[in-house]
């Protein structure tokens, strides 16, 4: 069984981002970039499937600039077998990424795609579901447990009221939530080994996909700032302020 894992290069989750003063976007110059944390969880899950003898090959795919190759290398160091970089300097929306992935799925015929449930830059939470739709595949989003048996995937999903378990036919798209696993740190020998693993490069044009954006970003602004308030000395003072100053209790 082949597993395809899309990985996205995003601003590192620890970075406090800054909005550009001309309101055209977020300042990405000299900012630390990393693999989207949800994609790390997807890679880990795929590698574990391989280690368990369920998957035979794990392919890491990224859509982005040349530097997205580093993100693929990270996946390779975690244990993915090879990579595909679809090179573009354009901002590609989730619909465009899903269309690109559909072409790669057509060429690679994986049985399973494991994607992160959302990227922490645009917070869209769309690509996995869109890919499943375009392929006519089943989808199991927000997975916290995944079990493959008899050509089916049994997936426990994190939903608003608790947990839901479904069984989906394969091939399928699964999207990873936080508690699916804890991704490993790549060891130095594996980082060295990853340098020798192959990464194919493709272009959007080669794949014949229209990625023209549907949304125009008119402006990006800072959210309304919240002022720090006051420190209270005692619990009694806190309760008094909540009741008599803020008027939110009693």
């Amino acid at each position: 069984m082949k597993v395809l894992v899309p990985v996205k290069r995003v601003v590192d989750y620890n970075v406090k981002i800054r909005v550009k003063s001309d309101k055209t976007g977020v300042d990405l110059a000299n900012v630390k970039m990393s693999m989207n944390p949800f994609d790390e969880i997807s890679v880990e899950e795929a590698v574990r499937l391989k280690e368990a003898g369920v998957a035979t090959e794990v392919i890491a795919v990224s859509v982005g600039p040349q530097q997205a190759q580093e993100t693929i290398r990270t996946a390779l160091a975690m244990g993915a077998d090879r990579g595909i970089l679809v090179k573009t300097d354009a901002e590609v929306e989730p619909l465009g990424v899903a269309k690109i992935l559909k072409e790669l799925v057509g060429a690679e015929s994986p049985d399973l795609v494991i994607a992160g449930k959302q990227a922490i830059d645009d917070d869209s939470n769309q690509t996995g579901q869109m890919l499943a739709a375009l392929l006519g595949w089943s989808q199991a989003t927000f997975a916290s447990e995944l079990e493959i048996a008899d050509g089916k995937a049994k997936v426990t999903r994190e939903i608003d009221g608790g947990l839901q378990t479904i069984e989906v036919s394969m091939p399928a798209v699964v999207t990873a939530d936080l508690r699916l696993n804890e991704p490993r740190y790549a060891s130095l020998p594996n980082i060295m080994k990853a340098k020798k693993k192959p990464i194919d490069e493709k272009t959007v044009e080669e794949l014949g996909v229209d990625i023209a954006p549907r949304l125009t970003v008119l402006e990006v602004t800072e959210p309304a700032a919240r002022e720090a308030g006051v420190k209270v000395e005692t619990v009694a003072e806190l309760v008094d302020k909540l009741k008599n100053e803020a008027g939110v209790i009693g």
Binding site: K117, D122, S124, Q129, D160, Q164, I166, R226, V248
Partner: protein, 313 residues
């Protein structure tokens, strides 16, 4: 223009998120029709018909929709989409699951978690965990939108008298099967609609200490939440999580106990009206957004809070 709102409901009635998303749908400017989809959901359809300003209710009641599986639900919505200029759903896990599938089937780029409707094609949505707000304009002929419900007021649940029209099921592609559900049972208000939320973080040290917070919550009629750290550590179940990738809440009062205030947590609660932070680390980032901060050991402060609240409530 006409907008189709996909209702979140519990069979007999509507979830609060539907009334809030209705306000966003209304702001698009046209008529709003509501799709109630499930198995045994006549009660929810009758409730939807009473929403103030509701134009029509479509009821698709069929056993195949019993468990909100994405594939049959998306196919149903797509089968109805021809009559509508916009399709809107609350950004609950159900909406987030099904709407991108609908969008891709319609070849539309979805606009996720809108917090403001500027016009029928222009919306504001948070990006980077709410650390930036993007105003985006959609060129798609049909809009597919999910709504961050905390950003919109609830439309009045009474006042309308729309007709309820049954629509045929769109068939089951048979791609997925429901196995089971493990839902948290709680008498407390649901997090996203609670007026007061009391949340615990890693500082709680163990799930065994959460009853301490629950006592305070019950005095206040509050919901109980948690930071990701507390959920990851197994103190409480996943549906307690408040944050960028968990639930987004904006209650009148948010009390953060033993929560340091990572960016990802702040993203889920910083629009609360009044924020209280109780933490023994006075450098904790949570204090930078708190209206009232108390630097104290929570194991002393929380029982004391319970006693003080008993005096004034």
């Amino acid at each position: 223009m006409t907008t189709l709102l996909i209702a979140d409901h519990h069979g007999d009635g509507l979830n609060d998120s539907t009334l809030k998303a209705f306000s966003a749908a209304k702001a698009l400017g046209g008529d709003v029709h509501v799709l109630v989809n499930g198995s045994g959901c006549q009660g929810a359809a009758d409730a939807a018909a009473k929403i103030d300003g509701c134009g029509k209710v479509l009821l698709a009641d069929d056993a195949i929709y019993a468990n909100r599986l994405a594939e049959p639900k998306a196919d149903l919505i797509v089968s109805l989409a021809g009559d509508y200029d916009a399709i809107v759903a609350p950004a609950t896990t159900s909406g987030k699951n099904v709407m991108p599938r609908v969008a891709a089937l319609l070849d539309v780029m979805q606009i996720s978690e809108v917090v403001a409707v500027e016009s029928a094609d222009t919306f504001v949505r948070p990006i980077y965990a709410g650390n930036a707000m993007a105003k985006v304009q959609s060129a798609d002929p049909k809009k597919v939108i999910t709504v961050r419900t905390t950003a919109f007021p609830a439309t009045a649940a009474e006042g309308g008298s729309a007709s309820v029209e049954a629509v045929a099921a769109a068939g089951d592609p048979g791609l997925s099967t429901f196995i089971g559900e493990e839902l948290s049972k709680s008498e407390r208000p649901e997090l996203t609609s609670a007026k007061i939320v009391v949340s615990g973080g890693r500082g709680m040290q163990s799930g065994d200490n959460f009853p301490m917070l629950e006592k305070v919550a019950d005095l206040l009629g509050a919901g109980v939440g948690a930071s990701r750290a507390a959920v990851d550590a197994g103190f409480v179940p996943n549906d307690y999580q408040v944050g960028q990738t968990g639930k987004v809440v904006a209650p009148e009062l948010y009390i953060a106990v033993g929560i340091s205030g990572a960016i990802q947590h702040l993203a889920g609660m910083k629009d609360s009206k009044v924020i209280v932070a109780i933490n023994k680390d006075e450098e904790a980032p949570i204090f930078s957004v708190a209206d009232y901060g108390l630097v104290a050991d929570l194991f002393n402060a929380v029982p004391e809070l319970e006693e003080e609240l008993k005096k004034v409530l």
